[in-house]
Amino acid sequence: MANGSSMDKPLTGDLRSDGAVLDLAAYEKAGGYEALRRVIKEMTPADVLKEITDSRLRGRGGAGFPTGQKWSFVPMGENAPTPKYLVANADEMEPGTFKDRMLLEGNPHLLIEGMILAAYTIQATDGYIFLRWAYKLAAERIVRALAEARDKGYLGKNILGSDYSFELDLHTSAGRYMCGEETGLLNALEGKRANPRAKPPFPQVSGLWGKPTIVQNVETLCNIAPILRNGAQWYLGLSRSEDGGTKLYGVSGKVKRPGAWELPLGTTIREILERRARGMQDGHQFRGVLPGGASTDFLVEEHLDTKMDYGSVQAAGSRLGTGLMVVLDDKTSVVGMVLNLERFFAQESCGWCTPCRDGLPWTARILQGLLEGRGRPGDLERLEMQTRMMGPGNTFCALAPGAMEPLQSALKYFREDFEKLIPSVLSHEISC
């Protein structure tokens, strides 16, 4: 039976405070691999799918798609294509996001058990953990944990004596944000440039090497074993929202105690900023926050009591995203911050579609012009036009619309900061 702390903090309750990794013995002692033992013996894939669907677990990688529903699209039965694949998305390159690192370094078996269970549900025979290059310590620890799991019969041929087999390997990338986009990731795994693919066909039907594939964020997968160990009802009870579970939240920027914490899904922004991050550093005032990473819309003071869950953040005009917040303070230049973000997106654009390839560098140049005293009347309208041209539906993947979110909301909430940098129409006419 799991201990108390892991009952209300299933993702981090067992993490060691000294930063050392939970090895297999420690993980088992905390109830690890109990779910796998029981599922393999007593549950069919359909039973597991039902439990995950009932738990109302939604993706933690940014898009928030319901996990059970995603798995339900995978072809099942004797005529389903083989092999099927399961991939953990451990690319974590969204600026401001540092949550998956914590799970990967602290408790790799939680991910591995979750992956075996997910793979069993869709009857996948092969899996990969797609890890970003920078996470060297995580890589070492994952390799060791995979070996431990294989030795113990949790992974490989005939898992725990059953007729189910699953092979799992680590793939380390070489640094590019696009590798985190689900279909870009599949191309990267195949050894190609990580350009995204057209959808449909969806990866659940035709993914890695044209076979059915599920790509799932690390944090999402780390929830699977706890749900199957303690049940969907327990999982729903952890949350303060209509969706199930806890969430890793975090804060960076000029706050007193930056960090990441596991809290009930639906904890308010205020509680996270004030109680966990202990408020702003002395001499700094709160102005706004990107609630879920670089590609989410700013929220401001009036939104502080918004619950950090999928529906509430959306109703406030932004997205839960990765759930890791970046705080804007009054000593930091808004336009400078937005320029930093747009430069990132411009550099990481894969260049496939014109609005993104040309629009992002252009956007960055306008912002830089503003900061360097070369602002012109009409610049704000030009920026707004870009936010429409790169809006949802106009580009091949979600990078460009994501890039527009902080810009469009900054123009809305901090308009005066931009306007200050543009000579007034009058003086412009005189100078002409």
Binding site: E92, M93, E94, P95, G96, T97, F98, D100, R101, R132, W133, A134, Y135, K136, L137, D169, H171, T172, S173, A174, G175, R176, Y177, A188, L189, E190, G191, K192, R193, A194, W209, G250, V251, S252, G253, K254, P258, G259, A260, L290, A294, L324, V326, V327, L328, D329, T332, G336, M337, N340, L341, F344, Q347, E348
Partner: protein, 159 residues
């Protein structure tokens, strides 16, 4: 030329996948472990081992920020220039590094000890400004800490 051991490691990586091309990023990283960067000659050799055309392999190699197609120094410094580190003082750290090393971003010091590169978020935003030197992560940087870190890498010969 790649060493026989390097060729062997690359062939072994390729057997992990049904399609050898899938091992190409891993293969390029093996080349960099021994040679720091990927020359045209090495690129051709790797392409041959993985049944790829050199052009196809080069188009993958150039896609990645961490595959170097130009020579780099003994220690590659990857300084995070993304949003949280920028808020926490990236620009100061960057200016300090440039002065101490006498190079601009993208350049290698005259003695070949360091290459200074900007890099996207290192996933440690609560403890920025941050940088990696080789495989080592350094966080909560300030100028003194940077000096101390540079000193350490100046002394120790390449690992």
């Amino acid at each position: 030329m790649l060493t026989e051991q390097e060729r062997e490691r690359i062939r072994a990586e390729a057997t992990h996948y049904d399609y050898p091309q899938a091992a190409c990023v891993e293969a390029l990283k093996i080349v960099q472990e021994g040679h720091r960067w990927v020359s045209d000659e090495h690129l051709k050799e790797v392409a041959g081992l993985l049944d790829m055309s050199p052009e196809a392999l080069d188009s993958v190699a150039t896609f990645y920020n961490l595959i170097f197609r130009k020579p780099v120094g003994e220690n590659v410094i990857l300084l995070c220039d993304s949003v949280s580190c920028w808020i926490l003082g990236y620009e100061n750290i960057c200016a300090h590094l440039k002065t101490r090393l006498g190079v601009e971003l993208g350049e290698t010091t005259a003695d070949g000890k360091f290459t200074l590169l900007p890099m996207a978020c290192l996933g440690t935003c609560d403890r920025g400004p941050a940088m990696m030197v080789g495989s080592d992560l350094h966080r909560n940087l300030d100028n003194e800490k940077v000096d101390e870190i540079l000193g350490r890498y100046r002394q120790t010969p390449e690992a």
